[in-house]
């Protein structure tokens, strides 16, 4: 079966600095894939490259088997990709509702059960109360909910989430992760970059570990041992490759 999304020897970087040295990754419809790795391993770079925010060769990224690498981000949205970026990147000076509407007004063709403002408000009820509040006046958790809502309203087939739990209180993290099954229910795939390895393992079907721009481990999340993860994470096994 052709995977929904796949990367093939994906190479990307910043100017002369190469941050990814050939990443092979697959994501299937409805699947949640976790991406773990130390700071600077290249997780954000990988998501950014997939989203079209960094230059890559066409063959390096395929959607439904078709090469799409190097297309501009707004075209990737049309192909069914969306990202909840590192640092949330909300539109300051605009209200919660306006932030969400920008996304819904430029969305890909809706999937089976399209995301609506109503559904996002049902998923995160606090956002309904704050609909008219400028996003810069929200708490970190609420901002993250807006960022996720914005991603969903792009009607993605694949949602890329970059450290959605970063800097949030445990209760808020639980609240946000509790919303994920609702997101994947209609077949939307998730790619989760997560610092909390335990959380990443519990929330995902499969898991990739990155180290210095290379995949050092991948497999079924429930079957990977703690030792294997820590070896891949810190590079003990990397030296033996």
């Amino acid at each position: 079966m052709t995977p929904l999304l796949s990367t093939h020897g994906l190479i990307a970087g910043y100017g002369d600095m190469r941050a990814l040295h050939g990443i092979d990754l697959t994501v299937n419809s409805g699947e949640t894939v976790a991406l773990i790795g130390a700071n600077g391993a290249g997780k954000s770079t990988l998501l950014r490259a997939i989203m079209g925010l960094l230059p890559v060769a066409p063959e390096m990224i395929r959607l439904d088997g078709q090469p799409v690498g190097g297309r501009a981000p707004h075209r990737m949205v049309r192909e069914g990709l969306a990202i909840v970026p590192e640092g949330r990147r909300l539109f300051t000076g605009m209200s919660v509702e306006e932030n969400l509407r920008v996304a819904s007004e430029h969305a890909a063709k809706p999937v089976a059960e399209p995301w609506t403002l109503e559904r996002v408000f049902a998923l995160f009820p606090i956002l309904r109360e704050k609909a008219r509040t400028p996003v810069e006046n929200l708490s970190g958790g609420q901002q993250q909910m807006v960022s996720i809502g914005r991603g969903l309203l792009a009607q993605p087939r694949i949602l890329l989430c970059d450290e959605i739990s970063l800097g949030l209180a445990p209760k808020v993290v639980r609240e946000i992760y509790a919303a994920l099954p609702e997101i994947t229910a209609n077949g939307t795939a998730l790619v989760l970059v997560e610092q909390d390895v335990g959380l990443a393992q519990r929330a995902s079907h499969r898991l990739y570990c990155l180290l210095e721009g290379r995949v050092t481990l991948h497999g079924t999340s429930g079957e990977i041992s703690r030792d294997a993860i820590s070896a891949a994470y810190f590079g003990a096994s990397h030296a033996l490759d």
Binding site: P73, F91, M94, V102, A107
Partner: protein, 286 residues
């Protein structure tokens, strides 16, 4: 009465400056571009309008109706062909590019239209005035002010209430994040510049009717637009309008003090604002 008259004349003059300033505020607000050709585009449109009136016999309102779409098309082209290549976090490339284009435009206009000053006949409307009590108000400046107010209100509403306006504000807040939710920045930018230069179609028509234009006039118009935008607060729509009013009133009152002091008074107020409140009098609106 002397001073009240000065203020009224200043507000009327501010109406014209507002038409210059709106587009500049829009382009700066959305793209952080200071378009040095802004004034030259006013002159170019005015000269095109005057030629249309002379060659095709268009009346002033037909000229206006023609110059707005021509301006919009020029703006779109300017963004697509040049500014999209130089827009970015660094304001210098766009400054250099538009500076170069400004000089090229002035020279091209000189070749086509020669250095003569020209103006557009308004069919008598330039001389018409109405009296508000003891104060006489020119009909043309009044029309200019009304147009400026409607343009400002319309642009502000567009920014706040429409899909396009939201995409503009999103791109202005974080262009990469806007692209991540499906906004095509190049289209949004081209539309912003099309609107900015389209509005200059109004400014060009009215400038050519109330006064004269010549190919080298652009930098003066640029300065007035620039000062209005800085006084009001960079990138704010109603701020630009208010800045234009303050500039117009300063010049009119300065002119009452001494005819040679008018323009200078405007510059002094501009410098005072820059020194005391560099972010502009009005905070940037969302």
């Amino acid at each position: 009465m002397h001073w009240i008259d000065g203020i009224v004349q200043g507000v009327l003059l501010g109406g014209l400056y507002a038409q210059y300033a709106l587009g500049m505020a829009l382009m700066f607000g959305v793209m952080k571009i200071v378009n040095v050709t802004h004034g030259d585009l006013v002159v170019l449109l005015a000269l095109i309008g005057i030629s249309l009136a002379n060659v095709a016999g268009l009346g002033p309102w037909a000229v206006l109706a023609t110059l707005v779409p021509i301006g919009a098309a020029l703006g779109w082209l300017l963004q697509r062909a040049l500014l999209n290549r130089v827009v970015g976090n660094d304001p210098l490339p766009s400054l250099i590019a538009t500076f170069g284009l400004s000089i090229a435009l002035q020279n091209a206009m000189l070749v086509i239209w020669s250095a003569d000053t020209r103006s557009l006949s308004g069919g008598g409307i330039q001389q018409a005035s109405i009296s508000l009590g003891p104060i006489f108000v020119g009909v043309l400046p009044l029309i200019v002010l009304i147009c400026a107010t409607l343009l400002t209100g319309g642009l502000d509403l567009t920014m706040r209430r429409t899909r396009f306006g939201r995409s503009l504000r999103a791109a202005s807040a974080d262009v990469e994040a806007a692209a991540m939710v499906g906004v095509n920045p190049r289209n949004v930018y081209a539309a912003a510049t099309a609107i900015a230069v389209g509005i200059l179609g109004f400014a060009a028509t009215f400038q050519a009717m109330r006064s004269t234009v010549a190919p080298a006039d652009g930098p003066f118009q640029l300065i007035f637009a620039f000062e209005a935008v800085i006084i009001g607060g960079l990138g704010s729509i109603w701020g630009a309008f208010a800045g234009a009013m303050i500039l117009g009133i300063s010049q009119a009152i300065g002119f009452r003090i001494s005819p040679g002091f008018g323009i200078l008074a405007g510059h002094l107020v501009f410098l005072a604002v820059l020194a005391i409140r560099p972010q502009g009098i009005f905070q940037r609106r969302a």
